[in-house]
Structures are given as C-alpha cells and as structure tokens.
C-alpha cells in the first residue's frame, strides 16, 4: 500500500482483509481487493455469496468486524457517503412524494444545496425525457419511470463512486440499454463504478475487471480477458466448407459438430499449429479458426467446483 501511495493515485476503493459476520454466519470472510483505476469493477457471485454485505460496508451502512476499507487512500468515514451513489438491489421510492421533491430530498441528504440540487434534478429528468413529471406523484409513474427516477437519485450528486447492485433486474430492454449507456458515460467521465450481479452475461458486457465472491470469500480476481485466457483449455472453433479429412477425426477429439463448423479439443502436447498444418495439407477450405475462451459462467463454475467438488453448480443451488 505504501508503494501505491508514492507511485500512483490511490484506488477509489481498497478493501483490505475485511470480515463481517452476522451471528454464526460469516457473510464476508477476509476479502481483499482494490478498484482498478480505469475499469468498471464487476462484483460477481451467486445470491447469498456476500456481495450485498460487502457493499453495505463500502457504503458505510455497516462496519467491518475486522479489516479496513479505504476511499481514495483515506480510511472510510462518515463523510464519504456524500461521494458515493448507491443503487441497492432492494430499492424503492416514497410513493406519496412528488418526483421533483423526492429527488431534491435525496440529493440534499447527499449534501447538495437546494439550488444545485434543483438544477441537477431538472437536467437529469430532461435527459430521461421525464421533465414533465416534476409535479407528479411517484405512485402515478410507470414502473420503468420509477426505476429511472431511482437511477437519477443515485447519480444526481455527481458521486466519485457509483455502486450498482443488480441494476438491471426488472428493467425492460429499452431502459436497461439507456441505463447501460449512462453508466458507461459516467465511467468515461471518471466515475468509479462497482457493478454487482449474479448474472455473468451482464458482467461480460460492462466490466473489464472482476472480483468473484463465493461463500463470503474472494475466490478469483483480475481482468476479464486475463481470467478467460487463464481458464482457456485448448479448445478451438473451425469454420470450413467441404469435407474434413478422416485423419483429423482419428487424431483429434471433435466436439459440437454443426453444419458450418466444429469445435476441436486439443489433447496433451497437441498444438494448434500442427492442427492447422494438417488441415492445410488436406486442402480443407478454412473460413475461420479461433481459440474458444470459456465464458465467465464456465470459469466461475470451474473455480467453485475446483474449490469445493461437491458444489457442481453454485447458481442453481443458490437460486433455488
């Protein structure tokens, strides 16, 4: 850490050996990670893995039993919530309040004064096409609009750190796309983003860096591309026209044959170049040849089963 301070700006969030237990149940067990400087951080794990417990500590709603969290190199304190925007998984609005008034209330709780909050709220509502809804009661809004208002309330105070817990759950595709665009824009403007989810495909769309949490522990961390490469297991996809030589089937294991191509699994010592050479020698009309990288879902299942062989599919069991 000391070196970090000297060499570069400290990460927005650094979590160091954090542990949190509720009674007997250890929700977060010795988790350590730091936000990379310019990547959206994906906090991944099945339901009940400890993501929300971890996030509640970062947002200062709860405090760690041991370990510590740093915000921009300073210990997390009561002042930092004004610099964090948090969209919880369980979220809602006061149904009887007016939209404008509601946004002002939440923005002022984040330390904005009334005037700047009003300007910001109007700007954001206009951005989402909701400028005519200032004097509407929240309960009069459609569900999608309410979710947009929730999002605005999360970002209205220009937080340095945005924490989104399952932000896309229950969102229709149009709203999801709009929110994704806004998240990417804010990130491009320098806002740190932590994106927590149990949906792997969403992480792959948004995040360059992930932290995998299972049963309260950080089990895998790194750049998405690196991780997938690390978990690649010599599988290649071949797209071709015509017939494959018989010798190929003898020497190599062929999986998933489809009309346009096949997946080929290399065995010990087999090299991609040898495979290609064989195909070229047989004069196969090759349209495409690429390495198959595992999806994060596969990586996750692999990693979890590796640590705990009895748990073959953590997602299915946890979600049931």
């Amino acid at each position: 850490m000391v070196q970090n301070h000297i060499l570069m700006t400290p990460p927005i969030i650094a979590v160091n050996n954090v542990r949190k237990a509720y009674g007997e149940k250890v929700a977060v067990n010795d988790v350590t990670f730091a936000m990379p400087p310019d990547a959206i951080l994906g906090l991944l794990g099945p339901n009940g893995a400890g993501k929300t417990s971890l996030i509640r500590m970062i947002t200062t709603i709860t405090a760690p039993d041991s370990g510590h969290i740093e915000f921009n190199g300073q210990p997390l304190s009561g002042f930092h919530p004004t610099q964090i925007g948090y969209l919880p998984e369980e979220r809602g609005l006061y149904k009887k309040m007016y939209v404008g008034e509601h946004l002002l209330y939440l923005a002022r709780l984040k330390g904005m004064d009334k005037k700047e909050a009003t300007t910001a709220a109007k700007e954001w509502l206009a951005k989402f096409g909701l400028e005519n809804h200032w004097d509407k009661k929240v309960e009069e809004l459609s569900k999608g609009m309410q979710q947009q208002v929730q999002f605005i309330a999360t970002v209205i105070h220009n937080p340095k750190l945005l924490i989104l817990d399952e932000p896309f759950s229950g969102l229709d595709p149009v709203n999801a796309t709009r929110m994704r665009q806004e998240i990417l824009r804010l990130h491009a403007e320098g806002t740190g983003v932590i994106f927590s989810t149990h949906r792997m495909e969403q992480v792959e769309e948004l995040c360059e860096y992930i932290v995998l949490i299972n049963q309260g522990a950080n089990i895998l961390e790194g750049k998405v591309a690196d991780i997938r490469r690390r978990f690649q297991d010599d599988k290649f996809h071949l797209e071709y026209e015509g017939d494959l030589p018989a010798v190929l089937k003898e020497r190599y294991e062929i999986i998933n044959p489809t009309p346009s191509g096949v997946d080929i699994q290399l065995r010990d010592g087999q090299k991609a170049n040898d495979l290609l050479r064989l195909l070229l020698d047989a004069d196969v009309h090759i349209i495409g040849f690429q390495e198959l990288l595992p999806s994060l879902n596969e990586v996750f299942i692999k990693q979890v089963t590796q640590l705990d062989p009895t748990n073959t599919n953590p997602f299915d069991t946890q979600e049931a």
Binding site: I61, Y86, P88, E90, G92, L93, M97, Y105, L106, L109
Partner: protein, 443 residues
C-alpha cells in the same frame, strides 16, 4: 444535524399535506359537533306520549291540587275504582289510574300507592309520581303529627367541607375546597391526552417505519443518513404532526361547539330536564356563582409554573419512549403486516396498564400505587400528569422526571439498535428473540 433537519422536514410535510390528515383534522371537530347535536336531540326527545292519569286520592293528601308536568297530566276523580278500570278502554280522557290509599298511621315508614295501566310505567312518569306523593305525604304527616314545619325544615343540613391549608404562602388563599375536583378534572385531561397521543402518534411512527421498509426506500436513505438520525427525525417529525393536529383541534373544537350552540341554541327547558333529579337543579344561582368563582380561583391557585413544564417534559418523554418502541417493532415487521400485529401488543400493554393506574391515581393521588408508578418510567408519563394538579412533593416530581428522561433516552438508543438491523431484514418478521439478538449485534 442538517440531515436530521431534512428528515424531520420530510416526515412532517409529507404527512401534514396528506388529504387524510387534513380531513381528519377538520372532520374531527365537525364530528364532535354532530355528536353533541345528536346527543342533545336524543336527550331532549324524552317522552312525547301523553300520560293522563286519574288520581283516586283516598287519603286526601293532595287536597285536589297536583301540578302537571310535561306530557303528564293529573286529574282527580272520586268514581269507584272498578268503574274507572272498566271505562278506561272506552274513555280516552285517561290511560292510567293512580290510587293513593288512605293513611291509617301517620308514623308509617313505607307507603304504597297503586298504578293501574296496561302500558308499562315509564321512568319519567314514575319519578314524577314519586316526587309528588313524597312531597304530599310530608305535608300530610307534618299536620297529622302536629309538627312545626319550620323546625322540620331546619333539620335538613347541607354539609360541605372547607379544606384549609395549614402552611399558607403569602398571597395564597388557604381555602382549597375545590382543589380536589379541579385537580381530578385537570389531571384526567392531561393523563388522557398523554394516553391518546402515545397511541395515535406512536402508531403513526410505526406505520412510517414499516412503509419505508416495505417500499424498499430505506436502504437508499440510510446510505446517506445514519439509521439513528433517520429514526430520530421520524419521531420528531411525526411528533410535530401530532402537535399540529392537537393545536388545530384545541382551536377548532371549542370554536365549532360555540358555533353549534349559537345555531341550535340550548333549549332551556331541555337543559332543565337534563338536570332534573341531579343535584345541580337544586343549586341556587348564588351558589352556582360561588362555585364558578371558586373553580376559577382554584385554577388560578394551581401551580402552573410546575404543572405546565413538567407536563410538557412528561409528554415529550412519554411520546419519545413509546414512539421509539413502536418504531423498533415496525422495523421488525415482515412484508406481511398482519403477521406482526402481535408484536405491537408488547408496547400496548404497558400503555393500557398505565392508563388504569392513572384512573386510580385520580381518586387517590398519593396512594402507594400512584407514587410507586411515578417511578416506573413506562407508567410515569401517563400517571404523573394526572397527579401533578394535586401538588405531589417536589422530590417525587424531580425524581420521577429524572428517571423518565433517562429511560426515554435509553429507550431511543435501544430502539435505534433494533431498528438499524430490522430495517435491512427483508422478508419474514423478526421475533422477540431476533430483536434481542439485533440489540447486541455489532453493526
């Protein structure tokens, strides 16, 4: 501090401008006015069926004079009883016969008259007959026994107790005869106000907590505000709502009642009837005047400098401690509201017990029960206001207030600890055991 103020503002404003609040605040005095009018109407209705009673005065105690009263008419007849009975069906000039038998012994203690009618004897008719016969018998006996009417009148003595203080402070009247009644009146008003406020506004705090939890807004809010700040803001905000409502009622209710009395007017005759039989009807105007004066003097003599500030303190403490308890219960409620109803019982039982102790304390403000309860912080805010007008010793007020203030602070702290865990516990309601666990959990 700024956030606390924002929370208070929100809690207050969103409630005060709600239609239901405005309606309740305005309709309650109107409702009371309607109630008063209806009650007055019911009482004034009385018996509109005419009672025409034939009196057979065998004893001749009435001397052929019997005053009628409203809807009850007396008529003397000397016809034989059997004939009167037989003619009753055809003769519509009477529907009852009163037979006053001759008096054989002027010293008799019990005297029975007979009333013949197919209609049951109405209460007001019975009262009218009783009073007339008693009066006539008295007169008759006085003559028969050759007694001095004036001497007999002198036998009756109305006794009143004039209580006087032994140690009288300068400028103070030593006469405390009305103090008991005034104290009880004032005490019951204050105790009752306390009791109602705890229930109405404590419940309001509980609903507010549950609403936030069910709306799932609470996690958003506590990512900016400490849970204790939110809780405190809620209690203060709702308290402000309660204060607004009570103040509005204090102005509106007497106002509306005044207007109602102007419009409908109080029929003097019904008022007289209402008081008929009660002691007040016998009070002569001079005496009434002196009672009013004494009441005013008694109110004036109340130690307002002690009563008002102490009452306010008890009121605040009582509200805070019970509102905090209601909030803790609300935070433990699950998504199914009905499931958690039993939890509210824990809070309601001490309030109700306190209320009954208060009723007892009004009768005996210095009983060991009343004094003891003043030092039980759960009861003190309800019991002590009722005792205040009776001038309890200073050490009791100070001691009780000290314990109550400390306890309500402790209660708010305790509720805060349950609340901060409870609000994030979605789904099932927390049990008492859970709440105990939350109390001691680190957060």
């Amino acid at each position: 501090m700024k956030n606390l103020w924002l929370v208070i503002q929100r809690e207050y404003l969103t409630r005060v401008r709600r239609k239901s609040f405005i309606l309740a605040t305005l309709l309650m005095p109107l409702g009371m006015a309607v109630f008063v009018v209806v009650v007055q109407f019911i009482f004034s209705y009385g018996n509109d069926e005419q009672q025409r009673i034939v009196v057979v005065d065998e004893a001749n105690i009435f001397n052929n004079t019997l005053p009628d009263s409203k809807n009850i008419y007396f008529k003397f007849r000397s016809d034989p009883l059997d004939e009167l009975k037989a003619n009753m069906a055809t003769d519509s000039s009477y529907n009852a016969i009163l037979v006053v038998p001759s008096v054989t012994n002027p010293r008799l203690k019990n005297f029975r008259v007979e009333y013949f009618s197919d209609d049951p004897l109405a209460l007001d008719t019975e009262l009218a007959i009783n009073r007339r016969v008693e009066k006539a018998m008295r007169k008759y006996k006085t003559t028969a026994l050759e007694l001095d009417a004036k001497a007999i009148a002198a036998l009756e003595t109305e006794v009143s107790i004039k209580t006087r203080k032994i140690t009288v402070e300068e400028g103070e009247d030593d006469d405390t005869s009305m103090a008991g009644i005034i104290g009880a009146g004032l005490g019951s008003v204050m105790g009752f106000l306390m009791y109602i406020s705890i229930f109405v506004y404590g419940m309001m705090v509980m609903r507010s907590v549950m609403e936030e939890k069910m709306n799932r807004i609470v996690e958003v809010v506590i990512s900016s505000v400490k849970p204790t700040t939110l809780l405190l803001g809620k209690i203060i905000g709702v308290g402000g709502v309660g204060l607004t409502q009570v103040l509005a009622w204090m102005i509106l209710i007497p106002g509306v009642l005044f207007v109602v009395s102007l419009i409908f007017g109080f029929d003097p005759e019904t008022a007289e009837q209402l008081q008929a039989g009660s002691a007040a009807s016998q009070v002569d105007p001079d005496e009434l005047q002196s009672i009013v004066e004494k009441t005013l003097a008694g109110l004036d003599e109340m130690n307002w400098w002690v009563i008002i500030p102490s009452f306010l303190l008890y009121f605040l403490c009582g509200y805070f401690m019970y509102a905090a308890m209601f909030a803790a219960i609300g935070s433990a409620m699950g998504d199914d509201m009905g499931e958690g109803q039993s939890l509210t019982l824990i809070v309601m039982i001490p309030v109700i017990l306190g209320f009954y102790i208060m009723m007892a304390a009004l009768q005996a403000p210095n009983s060991s029960l009343a004094v003891g309860s003043s030092f039980v912080p759960l009861f003190a805010p309800i019991v002590m206001p009722a005792r205040l007008p009776f001038g309890p010793p200073a050490w009791q007020i100070i001691g009780s207030l000290f314990i109550t203030i400390a306890f309500s602070g402790f209660m708010v702290w305790l509720a805060g600890r349950i609340y901060r865990v409870g609000i994030l516990n979605y789904g099932k309601k927390g049990s008492l055991k859970d709440m105990g666990r939350w109390l001691f959990s680190k957060y």
